[in-house]
Symmetry: C2
Subunit: 335 residues, 2 copies
Amino acid sequence: MQAQPITVAYGDGIGPEIMQATLDIILAAGAQLDIDTIEIGEAVYLRGNTAGIDPSAWDSLRRTKVFLKAPITTPQGGGFKSLNVTTRKMLGLYANIRPCVSYSPYVHTKHPVMDVVIIRENEEDLYAGIEHQQTPEVVQCLKLISRPGCEKIVRYAFEYARQYGRKKVTCFTKDNIMKQTDGLFHRVFDEVGAEYPELEKEHWIVDIGAAKLADTPEIFDVIVMPNLYGDILSDVAAQIAGSVGLAGSANIGEEVAMFEAIHGSAPRRAGQNLANPSGLLLGAVMMLVHIGQGDVAEKVHNAWLKTLEDGVHTYDIFEAGVSTEKAGTREFAQA
Amino acid sequence: MQAQPITVAYGDGIGPEIMQATLDIILAAGAQLDIDTIEIGEAVYLRGNTAGIDPSAWDSLRRTKVFLKAPITTPQGGGFKSLNVTTRKMLGLYANIRPCVSYSPYVHTKHPVMDVVIIRENEEDLYAGIEHQQTPEVVQCLKLISRPGCEKIVRYAFEYARQYGRKKVTCFTKDNIMKQTDGLFHRVFDEVGAEYPELEKEHWIVDIGAAKLADTPEIFDVIVMPNLYGDILSDVAAQIAGSVGLAGSANIGEEVAMFEAIHGSAPRRAGQNLANPSGLLLGAVMMLVHIGQGDVAEKVHNAWLKTLEDGVHTYDIFEAGVSTEKAGTREFAQA
Ligand SMILES: CC(C)[C@H](C(=O)O)[C@@H](O)C(=O)O
Ligand SMILES: CC(C)[C@H](C(=O)O)[C@@H](O)C(=O)O
């Protein structure tokens, strides 16, 4: 197997610890990787680069086309941009895939039979970053939705469902109020969906859809939605499945793909050997599938499940935390 | 006691049934009301009035200043406006109050100790209704936030917490992305909050805040937030507390106040004596407190709780539904 070039960023806070653990695990499991490390986040911001990433880093990303990214810290105030948002935009990462799965009884959850994949549009909506002061007392932010943007994400969702043998694709919008913007998203969902006769299709207004998701997630399968709803509801879904700390995510573009945990850099927990690498590890598993090393992905995923089953948990899952990620790392490496 | 003039609309779908039940109950409990009935909703829309309300109805509302409103149906397509949104805007109903309370063990919930009040800004944000087509392929909606708007709703939330002996007020925004719009809301929260030293204050980014609300609602007390987040998260909170069908809501303006259920008109269930009047009834209880008939409000609320405790449930709460709202109505009337 040819080693796959990938770009890795260790990030801030707990980032370096969980990235090291993740790389140790996947390399021990046989991943063939040619790793290029870049620096992003706090250190770069504090050098005065408001984007949190140096221009040379983009070269690495455009060359390897695969990015494994640890969480970073954005300094407060002072016009710093969100590196997540910058990266998604610069690399055209239009689809954000967030599987939210219960691992009951190994991870405590009130929703033991949950297996939802949230597919979030990742470039448009209120994230377009067009915000301005209209009068001294009035500020505005533009919510922008385009037909090509809707087509790309909706088609991605249906293709994903087909590829992974899913049964149903649900769409959430608020098109009873935003008839043009969310209305376009809903209309494109209906149009594109017509090309997938084997899949069940449904649409919910986002308020009651969110309520059902939070209460009875087992009725959902794949859900596709505009950016901001996806941001909020993927956190909801991940948390009620067990913990936002357990969810990985893929950010997919035409050329480049980025893989990460959905949680943040938790600076207060850094360096204490307390952090749970699961979110990033599951992001790395998605990466291994993406680069055609699916056998390694499966090995890592099974070893991870086995570790959960054996009751090895970091403090965030069971407060009594019998172990930390270091134990996890060693066990995984043995697998 | 002087009879209080109020305006009543019976609405569409299950509206007339639940309004009749609600009025029967509160009048039997001693509410002193001078009722003016107006017509809104489907019939008005279908007469060609895209707002769903006749001009004369506004006169009634401006005179009585108190509106008890059943859910209505907005016909699909054709440029009909949401009457809810029109009413909120025309009457300046800037605060939407949605208590989300568990009635465990009488109503099934996974969150038995929940008692959250969501205070939703009700006029601004993406609900300002400014939407347009920019190019054939791009549509936009304006999110609008004003300082006076933020000040009114945030102050309302703190005053509410003080008046009802609440301990903590939480604010949800996405100001790491929308630094100007949501940033203003957050800033005003901090400013106004400083005037309430006896109350605990906290702020969450809406994604992780929503996740915590869906997973551990017992850590929240009063939560104040911009319009759209409040729309989505009040449905989430009401549903996980038991059912959106059980939540009432108050829409408060400087002059007029409107009271309603948070659920819709459920046209498919109309006329079958299946509907649960609880949402509207709890809206009516809030109305009775608002018009100074708090003793009647308490009587109705206690009778309603008693009915739940006695195991009288409509089909939406327990599928086995031992009774319908008619039984409920008669029992309440006896109380
Ligand atoms: C950190 C923030 C910019 C980001 C987002 O809002 O997209 C995060 O919440 C996420 O969901 O990846
Ligand atoms: C019907 C709709 C316009 C309304 C809203 O979005 O505000 C409803 O969902 C609500 O929460 O009262």
